[in-house]
Subunit: 339 residues, 2 copies
């Protein structure tokens, strides 16, 4: 059976995903059924459409340049009309209202379309409801790319559910980690943020990183995957810039590091994102550049996971891992469906 | 539906598992249907049998002391007769012949009984065949407890399958790691091994650790889970004692450490277990005591996972994680079975 994939979002990650699926498909039977951006959709209805999509990917042109671009055709309708089995979502986040992300997710699930996502919005705000809806409808909801995309953080969390993890301490935002590194070298926050945006290591709206929305959303999803109730709204966010550039460099001179730490205490039910001074021997101190580091604290021991997170091409690769799992589950369901 | 569990093996891990399932069951509908050791089986056929099994667990007495012990009743027959849905296997390893483990696994699968195991024998020797058989019969085969039990190594590997992991370097054997620590302190291998056996940190037959069978089996299972073909038979094992106690201490004096390293190069298809001198900054050097450390090397980056592995009670807890996943899959199959 050919798996028809509809791409929701055509930014850096969406384009990387398009590149992989068109040029280097991970499975023999995967087709791009269509692509939506915020303005409309392209339905890929034959080799010509496919070739033009490939050209748009190479040239970096906007999706609207595609001759088959249909303005106003939204992602849910586009996915349905194109006969997609699964939508791969790389929407920009929308943490204040949750829209249009929420409506898109529930719209897709209502139309029996499975979801693979790098966007954190709905899982961070509505984890129980959206995962419950997918489960109820026997649909796949893959979200490996939402936390530390590139490092198996969520896989680890899934294996630790029920083990009594008491705390999580983590560096989950490559952008602020990179910025702190530049501040340590002598740059101001303003200069460091500008360099991060140029390096495509910061969201277009840098507040998402600097005010802690991004790591807070990841913390909520990680905690939910560990089996705890957690929402972005529960996370107390202290902006990175609450600590001055001078204090960042002072910590370094004293043999410590300032890190933007996401912290959950499951015993107390508290969640925070804030800049913290950590000892140089702390695993969090060893997060350099684009690294994420996650410490799962159990009663008498701790588990530490460290690895790369992002950028766009790596996030897209991780979404493809979810796609492979989706394909495996389909095959299993086909074989084992009625027993 | 009540999940009926048959315990195959009644050593340290099997007993820990029995304790959890009888005193602190993780799910409301789990029952111990029976227990087998190498001499026979107990079928738990009512409250009296259950109470006596609990007493045997408290007292540490042999299974044969159970009034309902049936000598000669093997684990496959015992599991079938007791109406078990899933067997939880904690057999001792059998790396030379693979028996009786192989016959037990295939016997259970043939009888449509799912498997959760901490025993590595069959997965290390026969991964493709045994996982294929379980998949073909739509049975669950859980084996989280076989590698770094306590640290989500296999969960991580599953999430890295298809990511192009090029190498794995790991400290996977708590026993030899503990022994090396004692040697660094001044003990001879003979003294260190004796202390490890007393601390229940070494297999009854210490050759399994000292000659590298245990880490080699784990390396094979880890590699297989990453998607590569790997068998215990492919692993070149250099015994730990090839490096002298003096050289171990010499390394320490030079600011390095000797570690018993399991190594796989997937590009070359080579697998080795051998003592190696590692720099103090190497993640492997930071494995102390019962820690396992696994480094997954990708093309341009690495992922490091570190955490506790074993002892028996922790291994049993990890098997229970598999049991919870089994229960979730049953529920999903029930809801989503025929669509």
């Amino acid at each position: 059976m050919t798996i028809r994939v509809f791409l929701v979002g055509f930014g850096n990650v969406g384009r990387s995903l398009g590149e992989i699926l068109l040029r280097n498909p991970p499975l023999s039977d995967v087709e791009v059924a269509g692509v939506a951006n915020s303005k409309g959709s392209v339905l890929v209805e034959g080799p010509a459409d496919k070739a033009k999509l490939a050209k748009i990917l190479s040239s970096g042109e906007r999706l609207e340049k595609h001759p088959s671009f249909r303005p106003g055709l939204g992602p849910v309708e586009g996915a349905v009309v194109s006969g997609a089995h699964v939508a791969m979502i790389t929407l920009p986040p929308s943490y204040e209202t949750g829209e249009p992300n929420r409506s898109i997710y529930y719209g897709l699930l209502e139309e029996e379309i499975s979801i693979i996502t790098a966007d954190k919005t709905v899982l961070a705000l509505d984890y129980a409801r959206v995962t419950g809806e997918a489960r109820r409808r026997c649909l796949f909801l893959g979200y490996r790319a939402t936390v530390a995309a590139g490092t198996p953080a969520l896989d680890s969390a899934r294996g630790l559910k029920g083990r009594g993890v008491e705390e999580v301490r983590a560096v989950l935002n490559a952008s602020t980690n990179y910025i702190l590194g530049l501040v340590e070298e002598g740059y101001s926050y303003e200069e460091a943020v500008e360099k991060a945006i140029q390096a495509k290591l910061a969201e277009p709206d840098p507040r998402i990183d600097l005010e802690g929305y991004d790591p807070a959303a990841k913390l909520a999803i990680l905690a939910s995957t560990l089996g705890y109730e957690a929402s972005l709204r529960d996370v107390v966010r202290v902006p990175l810039t609450e600590i001055s550039e001078d204090d960042v460099r002072e910590a370094l001179r004293k043999g410590k590091r300032v890190k933007y730490v996401a912290y959950a205490d499951f015993t107390r039910g508290t969640f925070r994102v804030e800049p913290r001074v950590v000892d140089s021997g702390d695993p969090l101190a060893s997060a350099v550049g684009e690294d994420n580091v996650i410490v799962f604290q159990l009663e008498s021991t701790s588990i530490v996971l460290k690895g790369p997170a992002g950028p766009a091409w790596r996030t897209a690769k991780v979404m493809v891992i979810d796609l492979i799992e989706y394909a495996e589950r389909l095959e299993e369901a086909g074989l084992c469906g009625c027993s």
